[in-house]
């Protein structure tokens, strides 16, 4: 019955829930979905993580490669992010070249990583103007159920934290490169950006903020993806993006910033616990 009602009166169905201060999936407005995180899940990648935020599932794998740095920035390495939204993650996407949504999500993710300065590209340089590391960070979405940016950032940061770089010796004269896989140093990761998505919904002349929205909620609020993404890192904001949807009031925005700050601690704990668990497992 509820399904038919949802089909016939999609807007009213959603409104009825919101007016009773509850969301269609039973959450409160400011309640996030459960997060499950697993690191070192892929054996072929140099570092990896799988994260599940509710139904949204992201696999992140980092592959290391060596390259010569750019002529303009001879003492910097590269960090290349790529977000893939294959056809299997949602019926909205078709197989073929990356969709606009995938490209936009990738842009948001790479901006957050650059703005938060969590990875210093100079750490990736081995010999200036000759040799540097390239980190290919691929994030594949297995199931898209909203708040993609949040999940991508968690997966990416968890894998970056577990990444260690093998030591490389470079002979300037013979141009010979030797990689020592047994002698690894962990990558320095400064800071811990955490993104929080919100959907902004206007019901009865007041703005509602729905934290960690599902795809259904994102669609109902209009726009492509979440409306409002706040990213916090070490108490500073490193990116607040607002697209489409209805327009939140100033109080609404302040509330969002507050909620995002609270969430940072939670997510940080998850990642730290997960990495500790992983280290214990590795040492056995």
């Amino acid at each position: 019955m509820a399904e038919i009602y949802k089909l016939i009166h999609p807007l009213k169905y959603f409104n009825d829930y919101i007016s009773r201060n509850i969301r269609p999936d039973g959450r409160k407005f400011t309640e996030q979905r459960n997060i499950k995180l697993n690191v070192n899940s892929l054996k072929t990648a140099d570092a990896s993580a799988v994260v599940k935020c509710g139904n949204t599932t992201i696999v992140c794998g980092i592959k290391l490669e060596l390259a010569t740095p750019k002529a303009e920035e001879p003492n910097q390495g590269f960090l290349v992010t790529n977000v893939e939204l294959p056809a299997l993650c949602s019926s909205k996407y078709k197989p073929g070249p990356p969709s606009d949504h995938a490209q936009v999500t990738n842009c948001l993710v790479s901006d957050i990583i650059v703005n938060s300065k969590s990875v210093d590209l100079k750490d990736l340089c081995i010999v200036p103007d000759k040799l540097a590391w390239v980190l290919y960070c691929d994030m594949v979405c297995l199931d898209n159920d909203g708040s993609l940016v949040d999940a991508c950032i968690i997966a990416l940061m968890a894998s970056l934290k577990t990444l260690s770089l093998p030591s490389v010796t470079y002979d300037c004269e013979t141009e010979e490169i030797t990689v020592d896989e047994n002698n690894k140093t962990p990558l320095k990761v400064h800071g811990m950006p955490v993104a929080t998505s919100f959907a902004v919904y206007k019901a009865l002349e007041s703005d509602m903020l729905l934290m960690d929205p599902s795809t259904y909620e994102e669609d109902m609020c209009g726009g492509i993806g979440a409306n409002f993404v706040v990213c916090c890192n070490n108490g500073l904001l490193c990116g607040t993006q607002k697209f489409g949807g209805s327009n939140p009031s100033t109080e609404c925005q302040e509330e969002a910033l507050k909620m995002a700050k609270h969430r940072v601690k939670l997510v940080e704990q998850v990642i730290e616990k997960c990495i500790k668990n992983n280290e214990i497992a590795m040492s056995r």
Partner: protein, 221 residues
């Protein structure tokens, strides 16, 4: 436009120049310069549209961003996304079901605050095309310099040394935030202050719109 330029100086916004109906073949077009940054936008629509991208309840909005030279990049898709989502909230698209409205934006000069110039140009082109709109919108950019001061409409030199840049788009009715996008790191208080200052500066952009439209409508009226 002498009077406006004076006004703009007081609030330290860059001088704006605009021409509507710059292109004869488009349904609406505008070229806008904000200081040395120049963008050109054209609007066509409502047009017929392919079955696969047709929507039965509203008009499909297609946005194309053309950079000046070189190949299209992922960054262009991001800009298109910002422009599309902003225009989508402004256009009354449910009045034109099963059609498409296309907005094309051409980069001409980029000397800082380019994306907000694009958004303003797109808004003027939409007004010129006569597509029904809920409200008009104005984009204002600002930068945070290394001493923590907020600079409205930064120049390119200021942008190079800036710690962060923030862009805000406001609607004309309640001055509420339609779109925002930021770069760099900043504290919460700075964000709020920047938002408030940009909001009051958006009044200037709206009054500029009003001047342009009155000038234009006098001729055709």
């Amino acid at each position: 436009m002498g009077a406006e330029e004076q006004n703009i100086k007081e609030f330290k916004l860059k001088p704006m120049k605009c021409e509507l109906n710059f292109l004869s073949k488009s349904d609406g077009s505008a070229i806008l310069s904000q200081g040395e940054t120049v963008a050109l936008a054209s609007v066509n629509g409502p047009l017929d549209v392919k079955m696969q991208s047709q929507s039965i309840e509203k008009s499909t909005l297609e946005v194309l961003f053309c950079s000046k030279g070189g190949k299209p990049s992922v960054g262009d898709r991001y800009k298109e996304n910002i422009i599309r989502q902003t225009c989508e909230t402004a256009i009354l698209s449910s009045l034109y079901p099963r059609t498409a409205i296309t907005i094309t934006i051409q980069e001409l000069e980029d000397y800082g605050g380019f994306l907000s110039c694009c958004l303003n140009t797109a808004c003027l082109a939409l007004v010129n095309s006569g597509v029904a709109m809920r409200h008009v919108f104005a984009a204002v950019s600002c930068a945070l310099d290394d001493r923590g001061n907020i600079l409205l409409e930064p120049t390119q030199q200021q942008l190079e040394t800036a710690r962060a840049t923030m862009n805000f788009v406001f609607d004309s009715r309640q001055k509420s935030l339609v779109t925002s996008f930021t770069e760099g790191a900043f504290s919460e208080d700075t964000y709020k202050e920047a938002l408030a200052r940009c909001r009051s500066a958006s009044d200037l952009v709206f009054s500029f719109y009003r001047d342009i439209v009155t000038k234009y409508s006098k001729v055709i009226g």
